[in-house]
Symmetry: C2
DNA sequence: GAAAGATCCGAAAAGGTTTTCTGAGACGCT
DNA sequence: AGCGTCTCAGAAAACCTTTTCGGATCTTTC
């Protein structure tokens, strides 16, 4: 089916080609195309026409070599399949693409050796900066202070406070989730969440606890840590209902857990949201919209995290470096699984 | 929380720095580091030591400028959120990362203007080639034959048969799915699938039909086209059971549809897989493993598609261009939702 | 008519690397 | 001693663009 044909490529036009066609020197051609003022209008037009006819594109390599800045950045992810990396990556790509910056994508697959390899390769290509995207919010080792270009850590903060990290506000996320449930009139709120080894799980639980404390309340039972799966959501809900059949809201650590929770609630005859409100985390569209009813969830605004990281890297490249961990607020996306008690 | 500090960066070491420190000329330093033979062993070691002390990394811009090849490729996606782009992108990144090729990531967000813009920018950076990743298998407009670098289309083939495209074998996928169900002893097989405007939906249905025909059988009713959602899976299953209560297998156009199908089957008292076998498409781990029972699904081997595209681009850059549409086989990943009839 | 100023163009250097070519020693042979 | 050969080091060109500076031409003014 596929056929082999002769390769036929012509070299891209160079500035001296343009200059020759326009009958001017290379210097004049450059000035004409870059809008410099020392060119007569008529000459400039001739050069522009010539460039058009040759479909000339200035060689960014030569330009970068001369300018010392390449207009490229490295985007270092630890795992592309992780669904948290992708939105961040999109936000960053978006923020850069708007400017004239191109993005090198490197996936270290969670391997420190591979990461080091990629960093070296990127530095060899003289990127102007790096963004390191993690797959969970637990702090990760710094790339080091000796790098010749600025680095911004996104989602997973650096362990070194001298680095700049941009992360979602997990504690605040727990708070606003509970605030929403309280606003719905719920008072007997349980929390079923994932792996206690994840900082995000701990911080969200902490935020939830403190928001309840502010209202003079407490969780129904302790936070139930487990794993990030539907199966755990189902199992934990069964136990919860046995111990506290009067619960009127369940805050879940992820949308997947929430799905498991909803299944068991429904099977046991609890109506959602009339009897029990359910909230998820991550606002994973594919899960929230397919739920019955659609799931209220906390969105971490990961695209914004990516964009903020990109902007921070921009300023760092321009000379204004910041350091420390900067948090961005999350938001509650309300759907059918939560509603005021009637 | 975040603090502002003074920027402090030092220029990366250059080859002439190394040469000066080693007490040789630039030419000799270059030859020493690149393993060229015209250098005495003792001199070479002196240069290597000097390079090490300065942590010298050759400037790839300069190297690319000279060599005419930059060792970079552009990866042009149409939508990053699409879950099909990501595995392809991973495969490609993987295949390139193993060599010394760096990948520019560009997301056109399904916009032709933006795509054109990215192509021009990438050509300005003198990429050695392009991979265009689509979000569905329907043919898409070619970037054109006049590009100065080779292009490979992945997942979404180019409309121009002179281009090279790498796509999963959707017809074959339908065939192997049915073959698996037949091997399980199923004979009354229905097909509930998604948007009929998607070529993938048509081709899979076609493959399923032809595999059944080969066995002297036919689908139970016509393929039921709808949308790619759980809701449609539920609705279609209800209709199906009303018309054909004796169905013993449902082949679904996606894992999401399969989830909906399974929910209604279970609610209506059909055991899976004892009474009815269910198969999905895409092998989306998060859905297949969370199903009850886990879902048998057809995997499109998208990482392999990405890797194959990367390799094809490699050979094209080396001079061996192919053209036409090349298909890669899919595979059935068996789980609990299909089993032999007892 | 000459000096001064304005306007436009081109030569050349810089950026960092690789490669080719030339040259300088060292060594062996007659 | 003279010649050829071999090994190793360096000079210089090439890749492509931008910018600075000097020079050339033309216009204006006294």
């Amino acid at each position: 089916m596929a056929q082999v044909t002769e390769p036929s490529r012509s070299q891209p036009a160079t500035l001296s080609d343009v200059a020759r066609l326009a009958g001017v020197s290379i210097a004049t051609a450059s000035k004409a195309l870059n809008g410099r003022s020392q060119v007569r209008a008529e000459t400039r037009q001739r050069v522009i026409d010539a460039a058009e006819r040759l479909s000339f594109r200035p060689n960014q390599l030569a330009r970068g070599l001369l300018a010392g800045r390449t207009g490229t950045v490295g985007l270092l992810t630890s795992d592309l399949e992780g669904r948290f990396s992708i939105p961040i990556l999109m936000g960053a790509e978006d923020a850069f693409g708007a400017g004239e910056v191109a993005v090198f994508l490197c996936d270290a697959r969670g391997d420190a050796i591979r990461e080091q390899h990629h960093v070296r390769a990127l530095l060899g290509r003289r990127v102007d900066g790096l963004i390191v995207v993690g797959s969970r919010t637990d702090p990760r080792p710094s790339l080091g202070r000796e790098l010749p270009v600025p680095v911004v850590y996104a989602y997973a903060p650096s362990e070194d406070p001298a680095d700049l990290s941009i992360v979602p506000d997990s504690v605040g996320a727990g708070r606003i989730a509970v605030d929403h449930l309280l606003a719905c009139g719920r008072r007997r709120i349980a929390h079923i969440t994932g792996d206690p080894g994840y900082l995000a799980a701990q911080e969200r639980a902490e935020g939830a606890r403190s928001a309840l404390a502010d209202a003079g309340l407490a969780l129904v039972g302790e936070p139930r840590f487990g794993v990030w799966s539907e199966g755990w959501g189902r199992a934990a809900t069964a136990m919860l209902l046995d111990q506290h059949p009067d619960v009127d809201a369940v805050l879940c650590g992820s949308d997947q857990i929430a799905r498991g929770v909803m299944d068991v609630l429904r099977e046991r005859g609890h109506r959602i949201p009339e009897d029990v409100a359910v909230m998820g985390f991550d606002n994973w569209q594919i899960l929230t919209s397919a739920s019955r009813p659609p799931l209220t969830s906390v969105d971490m605004n990961l695209e914004q995290v990516g964009r903020a990281a990109a902007r921070a890297l921009f300023s760092a490249i321009a000379g204004t470096r910041r350091s420390g961990i900067e948090t961005l607020p999350c938001r509650v996306v309300i759907a059918g699984s939560t509603a005021p008690l009637s």
